[in-house]
Subunit: 111 residues, 2 copies
Amino acid sequence: MQPIIKLFLADENGEKFFGEGPYQLLKGVEKTGSLHAAAAEMHMAYTKALKIIKQAEKALEYPLIRRAIGGKDGGGSQVTAQGKKLMKSYEQYKDACNRSCKQIYQEIFRS
Amino acid sequence: MQPIIKLFLADENGEKFFGEGPYQLLKGVEKTGSLHAAAAEMHMAYTKALKIIKQAEKALEYPLIRRAIGGKDGGGSQVTAQGKKLMKSYEQYKDACNRSCKQIYQEIFRS
């Protein structure tokens, strides 16, 4: 037996708008420089990926990704500075919660 | 913005078999003395409720509910002593994790 912990950020109405899925999408955009490519890596339709990002941006009231315009490679997307800050906070939150809950699990279920 | 924390117990392969749904079903059986009634209260098909309980019992290798046979009211189900112990452990685990993760959330996202 093992514990599984799923963490989300929700708006004031309890509507979840950020968690592992959106986080992995942003990681993919960082890596590939493209939401299209990030969605494809997750076997997710681009329209679904875009909807997930737009919903999170609406709840957060700031942009997570920005379309890179022109330049040698044209198109593509980048994670904004605010997006990077959210990713870092989410990583810290996730790591600390996982550590804490696993310890609590051991204390309660293994005693 | 607020944190939402979802907790599950999983088997060695990572297959989730217990969480808020099964817990609420057991609470319903405790309250109503019937898995039929507990499922109905959750607007869940009885067959689905039975499948959830059976899967959890298989992973845990002990019975969570026991059919009450005969007696004035006939039929019906009761939560076993092992089921009650699991419910109590889950409650403690959930409460402690929620408290801990909410504090971590405050520290990371409100600072």
